[in-house]
């Protein structure tokens, strides 16, 4: 259940979470915006930061680090929200900082080793090396949970 076959050339938006490098297909990114206060949703999972006003629409925001099972971090001004669209659902992903946009080819990407189960199971679709740094490319649908929801 990897995402759509990666095309020969794709662009990735890379960003940092707890000193690790992650990436998303730039085609799914709608915009990047600075951190604003999110209205808390009662009884939501801890990784749900809440909802923010995105030009008149209510956008749910997810703390991507918590979603991936990384330790909680202090909020700071460099935090940004990456607004993504997956299967027609818009979600904001709170990350530590955005790094770069890089072009890769299908050969640059390797499947991840089988991971043990955990919060991040299935969310990393492939790995790639850029300047000796390992970048984890995320499966967006698995990350924002649209797959679980549609199956439920």
């Amino acid at each position: 259940m990897t995402e759509t076959v990666l095309s020969a050339n794709m662009e990735l938006l890379t960003f940092r979470l707890a000193e690790q490098e992650y990436a998303l297909d730039i085609m799914s990114v709608r915009e990047i915006r600075g951190w604003t206060h999110a209205t808390q949703l009662p009884h939501a999972p801890a990784y749900m930061k809440g909802v923010i006003n995105l030009r008149g629409t209510v956008l749910p925001v997810m703390d991507l680090g918590l979603r991936l099972g990384l330790p909680p971090r202090e909020e700071n001004e460099r935090n940004v929200i990456i607004v993504v669209k997956s299967e027609d659902v818009m979600t904001g992903l709170l990350v530590d900082a955005v790094s770069d946009i890089v072009a890769v080819t299908g050969e640059d990407l390797q499947p991840p080793p089988e991971l043990s189960s955990g919060a991040s199971e299935g969310v990393v679709s492939s790995l790639t090396l850029i300047d000796e740094r390992m970048i984890r490319v995320l499966n967006l649908a698995a990350t924002v949970g649209t797959i679980e929801r549609t199956a439920a």
Partner: protein, 749 residues
Amino acid sequence: MSEENDPMAEIRASFFIECEELLEALQDGLQTIDDGAADSETINVVFRAVHSIKGGAGAFGLEALVRFAHRFETVLDEVRAGRLTIDDEALKVFFQAADHVSDLVRICRDGADAPDAETAVLIGALDQFLGDTVPEEDAEEPEIEFAPMGLSLDLDLSDASDETEAACPDLDALPPPPDFGAPTGDTAYTITFIPQAEMFETGNEPALLLRNLSQMGDLKVTCDASTLPDLDKITPEVPHLSWTIHLQTDVEEAEIRSIFEFVEGLCVLEIARETGDGGSDGDTTDETPVSPIVDISSETVNTPPPARPPDPPQAPTAPKPAQAAAPNPAEPSQPARAATAPTAAKSVVRVDLDRIERLVNLVGELVINQAMLSQSLEQSGLSPHSDAMSGLEEFQRLTRDIQDSVMMIRAQPVKSLFQRMSRIVRESSAAVSKDVRLNVIGEGTEVDKTVIERLADPLTHMIRNAVDHGLETPEKRIAAGKPAQGQINLSAAHRSGRVVIEISDDGAGINRPRVLQIAIDKGLIPADAQLSDTEIDNLLFLPGFSTASVVSDLSGRGVGMDVVRTSIQALGGRITITSNPGEGSTFSISLPLTLAVLDGMVIKVAGETLVLPLNLVVETLTLSNQDVQMVRPGNQVIEVRSGFVPLFDLGASLGYREPLQNFDGAVVLLIAQEDESCTALLIDNILDQRQVVIKGLDDSFHRAPGIAAATILGDGQIALILDPSDMIANAGATALAPSPPLKTQGVSA
């Protein structure tokens, strides 16, 4: 109505929309008959609905629909003519037939396969009412027989239509015969044509007939004006001329006759094949010596045959054709029927829904924007009497008016929805052999279009439940001293800014011991649970609960009342049950009028801003510690006018903070519950009362029970909109808050 790529496709789409309207009129009419409130126009309305559907269907070649509608129409025509009386049996079949027409319309629209077997069965049922009056194949034949003339004229007519001018038509001034090689024709006909008075009363024009004839071949016309009186004695409506026509053509006699189709019976017409030169084998007995006046090949025409009534001076005194002036008493639907007929079509504009959505969204933005502006103006410290502030007040009023008007666009009567339910009742009662009558009240109540659409499924399920489980079998009803026919009432009404839809039956009521037992058996509640009647009734809404021990065809489709409740809640609505053993049950659905705006109370709880529907707030109180009594730990009540009202700690319930221990200065809102009991909602303070724009939260937001939606406040922040009843009802289930059995302790005194 500008040019689209395919105007036919557009008309086709419009036809199906019209069909929906006609089907509604059809249902309405049948319902009126069923209610015994029909007058003579009712059957005409019913007939016309079927008739118009058939007419349109014919235009689009929708054979299955035409065939069935035709048969239905034929039977209805018998009723109209007074040859058939509608009894219960007939009405039942008519309802089924109407449902079937409705099915066929949808099948034709969606291009699905026609259910021929079902059609055949219903045609059989309809035919019973026809007896032997209508032979099987009456329908199609005459249409061919009387089909309009199929001449391949291709006329490029010049100006020859000045009808009021009574001059003899100059046939050469009429358009030239089309070039279809007719004059080479080898058959000669002699046609005698003597118009009678009636012909002019029908607006037929001899000159045009002659012209049309001239296009078939070589024409020689002689006009007999011998009976023409002196000019001052001419009566315009009485024909004084007759014609003898020689036509050389290769067309068939039938085609020649088709020219005279409209005047058949209004003239003496003889068509005879000529045997030799100038001779004729026909017996044109009326033939009198004629003087040639009009020769089709000649340039001149002189005598004016008064084919059409000339204009004044005669006109004002011209005698009216008696026949045409007398209204026909036999026709049941003559003019003066306006009172009962559907009123003249209101002027209506059809608008793409997307455009309305866009407008609704824009108005929503406007409201938010206005709220933001208000807030910043207030913070700027302007005097409330300044021009800016009073201008703002006017701006607020206008915004609100615009919003109301825009919401009106989306409002629709629930009638279409209710009509679908009457069909559900008919079908489901037949399936379980129960005699059920559906009484509908308030079908004119208007609700947001989306609400109506999304109510269809839950309502269908509840109606089926009522038929299947709510009502007893006829035998049991009679044994219980009730009429064999069960009653289901479906009503809609506006009540304090919401729409309340109720479905009630006069069945046995909820079998509480059994419900309790099932819930225990399924492990939904502990075996020793002590529950009030209301709590037992509410077990029906638990996921995984289904009362039917035998899963019937009807409601046992894996959909329980929990799904119904979820759908209602998704609309910002609530559902409650009341039931009396032996007397029946009532399900009450309360819905917001619109999904777009809400009159809200803005409150603060543990630093979070929240919005409550204003209409639920009965009263606000400020507490002191002695007002609060503990029933048991985590379970407090406050005393309000010698009654005890359960206290519900909103901040703790939402997980924002620990339960409050010190109540001095805390604010409570008394919230009216659907069952008329009250709950006191503990909050920090009230910020404002204002209209807010509702922004939906779907499941991707991890929406908690009690959180109905969200809105954007004047400062751009999002505030959640609460549904306190839902939250209180779910407080036990979520196990996230202390779970006092609140409802059992409502203010009853």
